[in-house]
Amino acid sequence: MERAGIQRMALGKAVNAGLRVAMERDPRVLLMGEDIGKLGGVFRVTDGLQKDFGEDRVLDTPLAEAGIVGTALGMSLRGYRPVCEIQFNGFVFPAFNQIVTQLAKLRARTRGRLTVPVVIRMPFGGGIGSVEHHSESPEVLFAHTAGLRVVAPSSAHDAYWMIQQSIASADPVLFLEPERRYWEKGDVDVDLGPGEVAPLHRARVLRTGKDATLVAYGPTVRLALDTAAAAAEDGTDLEVIDLRSISPLDVDTVVESVQRTGRLVVVHEAPTFHGPGAELAARVQERCFYSLEAPVQRVGGFHVPYPAARYEDHYLPDVDRVLDAVEAALAA
C-alpha cells in the first residue's frame, strides 16, 4: 500500500521542510546564522523561513561564528532551541572554543543541571568545485569531543527527519549536510509517526550483500551504492551501510554485517589519517577478530589540506578507489 505522505524533494529542500515543521511545532526553535534570512542561506536551505517566521526567529547574525554559537548557547539556557548555521565547513573554527569548551561541557560541568539543546548545521564534504575552506570534512574533531553528537544524513528522507530529531535532542548536535548532495532528490515520507522514524543514531543497511560490507555516511553513501552497483556487474555482492551518526557510532549494526561478510571497507571524504574510519576499524577488528577474513580497509581523503578544485576529482574517493579497496579486502 502506497503511503499518502511521500513527497519528492531535494536534500536541501528536505532540511528546509524539516526546519519548518520544527519551527511550527515549537515556538522556541530559532535559526541563527549569516545570510540565512532574506538570502535564505548560500545554499538556500533556510529559504522563506524568515519571511514566514519573522526576524526574531530567523536571525541574520553579525559575521562571527563564535558569536553565533556562544549566543545560541545563552539563548538555549533561557529555554530556546537555537539551530545555528555555519556557512561553510571551513568557517566553523572561530566557533571552536565555544563548541568544545562550553557547548560540549556545560552539561557535565553542572552535573546535568543545565541542558544546551543547540543544533549546529553545517554543509560538509567537497565535490562542488569550490574555493578553499568550502569542501572540508572536519567531523572527527567534533566526534572526538565528548558532549557532542555528530550526525550526517545522506538522503532527503533522512535530512527531513534527522534535522527534526536533532532539534528535539536535549544534547548539542552537529548536523552535517553533504553539500554536493543538496540538489539530489529523494522520496520523503513525511507522514511517519514517532515510532516509525529510525532512531537518530541507528545505522541503516541500504543494500544487503554477502561478499563484503561497505560503510559510508553523508556524501559517500551514494558513492558506496554506485560502487556496489559496479561490483555487482563483476559478480561481487556488497552490503552497504549508511552510518548516519559518527558520535555515537552504531557499531553493532556494522559488526553484525561484518560477521556475515567477513570483510569491511569504510569510505568517507575526511582524511583517513586519524580520521573517523579509524575508530570503526579499531572497534571492528576488536569485535570481529575471528570473523574478519581480511584487514579492514579505509578509503578517505589524503593527509593534505583540501586541494584546489581542479584536484578534487583525484582527492575525493571515487568508485575506482573504493573498488580497489574492495578488491584488497577480497584478495586477502
Binding site: A64, G67, G70, A72, Q98, S169, P248
Partner: protein, 383 residues
C-alpha cells in the same frame, strides 16, 4: 614598546565615579548617588566582611591541603558586593572563577564554591534556581553566552515592561585580561547590535596573573565598549557605594530596554592570582602597599563610623558571624567526601550515548573484578 598610558585619568576618559574616597569621605556626584538606609549600609558591610572572611578561610584551607587551589578575592570585595546589591532576583549572573562575592550574593552555599577548588565538581549549585551561571574558567567564554541569555530575555518580553518584578537584566563579569580575547569583543559588539539587556562588569584589578593591564591595552578598557557604541563607565571599584550606584543604573537601563553598558571597576588584586602563584616574581610590594591604603572595607567602616551607623555591637555580632561562617566552612570542607567514581559517566550527555554506556559498563565490570581480586589476594594488596 608600550607607554603605559593606562590610568583612570587618561585624557578622553570620563572621570572615575567615586562616592567614597580612600579615607572614607563621602562625595557628591552629579549623576550617581546611593541613598541607603542604615540597615542597608550595615548589610553591605556585613557582606564585605563575610566575603573577606570566606576568602581568607578558603586560602587557609588550601594551605593545609584541604583545597587543591584557591582563587582569592581580597581587595575586590567592594566591586563584587556593591554590584551584587544592585541585582534583582530575576536577573542572571555570569561570573568568572574569582567572583565569589557574586555567587554568594545569590544564596549559593559557600561549600558549593569550595567543592570546585577541592576538585569534587565544577560547581554544585543549581544555576537556574540561583540565577548564577557556573564559573567559567576559559577566559571570556562566558560573555557570549551571557549576551545570548540576554537576547533570550528580550525575546521573552521580559524587558522594558516597566514591571520591576519582571524586567530582567544579565550581569556578565570579566577581568582586565579578558578584554583582550576576541570573544569579549564579539560579546560587546553583539550586545550593542541587538541592544541586549546585559551589563558587562569588568573588574580591572590591574593584573592578569603576571601581566599588568598595560599589556592588554593602551587606553582605559571601557573605551573598547564605546568603540562599539555602548556607554563605558569607569568607577572606583574599591568604593562599595559607587559600585552599587553605577551598577544599579546600568542594570536599570538594561532592564528598561535602554541597552547594554560596560563598567570598568578600578580595583586591585591584593593577593596572589591563585594559591599556585608567586606575585613577588613580577610585582612590587610598594604597589601593593599603595593599594592597601585604598582598602574597600576600611574606608567603608570609617565612613559608617563617622556617620554613626556602625557601632561596636554590630562589629561584635559581625565578628561572631564571621567566626561561625569560618567554622562551618572548615567543617564542611573537611567533611566533603570524594564523589562516586562512576558518576563521571553520568552527565556527559542527557540522552544515552552508546560508547559512553559501553565504557561505563566496562569500568564497572573492571572495578568489580578488582574488588574481588583484592578480597582474594592473601596480602589484600591487589596485584
Amino acid at each position: 614598546m608600550t607607554d603605559g598610558a593606562v590610568s583612570p585619568t587618561t585624557s578622553g576618559a570620563p572621570t572615575m565615579v567615586q562616592l567614597l574616597d580612600a579615607s572614607g569621605v563621602r562625595h557628591e556626584h552629579p549623576e550617581h548617588d546611593a541613598h541607603l538606609e542604615p540597615d542597608e549600609l550595615l548589610g553591605l558591610l556585613r557582606d564585605l566582611v563575610l566575603l573577606r572572611r570566606f576568602d581568607s578561610e578558603a586560602e587557609a584551607l588550601q594551605r593545609t591541603g584541604e583545597l587543591g587551589l584557591w582563587v582569592g578575592t581580597r581587595g575586590q570585595e567592594a566591586a563584587q558586593i556593591g554590584a551584587a546589591r544592585a541585582v534583582r532576583p530575576q536577573d542572571h549572573l555570569f561570573p568568572t572563577y574569582r567572583d565569589h562575592g557574586a555567587t554568594l550574593s545569590r544564596d549559593v552555599d559557600p561549600l558549593h564554591i569550595l567543592s570546585i577548588y577541592r576538585g569534587i565538581d565544577h560547581g554544585g549549585w543549581d544555576p537556574v534556581q540561583h540565577g548564577v551561571h557556573p564559573y567559567t574558567l576559559v577566559i571570556a567564554a562566558q560573555l557570549l553566552p551571557a549576551v545570548g541569555y540576554a537576547m533570550g530575555v528580550q525575546r521573552d518580553g521580559a524587558m522594558g515592561t516597566g514591571d520591576p518584578a519582571r524586567d530582567t537584566a544579565v550581569l556578565a563579569y570579566l577581568g582586565d585580561g579578558a578584554t583582550s580575547q576576541g570573544e569579549a569583543s564579539e560579546a560587546l559588539s553583539w550586545a550593542a547590535v541587538y541592544n541586549a539587556p546585559v551589563v558587562f562588569l569588568c573588574q580591572n584589578n590591574q593584573w592578569a596573573i603576571s601581566e599588568p593591564v598595560e599589556r592588554q591595552a593602551r587606553v582605559p578598557l571601557h573605551r573598547r565598549a564605546e568603540g562599539v557604541g555602548m556607554p563605558g563607565v569607569m568607577v572606583d571599584g574599591n568604593d562599595v557605594l559607587a559600585m552599587f550606584s553605577v551598577v544599579r543604573s546600568a542594570l536599570d537601563r538594561a532592564r528598561s530596554g535602554g541597552g547594554p553598558t560596560f563598567i570598568e571597576a578600578w580595583t586591585y588584586r591584593m593577593g596572589a592570582h591563585t594559591t599556585s602563584d608567586d606575585p613577588t616574581r613580577y610585582r612590587d610590594s610598594v604597589e601593593v602597599e599603595q593599594w592597601r591604603e585604598k582598602d574597600p572595607i576600611d574606608r567603608f567602616r570609617t565612613y559608617l563610623r563617622a556617620e554613626g551607623v556602625l557601632d561596636d555591637d554590630f562589629e561584635e555580632q559581625l565578628a561572631a558571624e564571621s567566626e561561625a561562617l569560618a567554622e562551618r566552612i572548615r567543617a564542611g570542607v573537611r567533611g566533603m567526601t570524594d564523589p562516586d567514581p562512576v558518576g563521571m559517566f553520568d552527565h556527559a550527555y542527557a540522552e544515552p550515548h552508546a560508547q559512553v554506556e559501553e565504557e561505563r559498563d566496562a569500568f564497572l565490570a573492571a572495578w568489580a573484578q578488582h574488588e574481588q581480586d583484592l578480597e582474594q589476594s592473601p596480602a589484600g594488596g591487589g596485584r
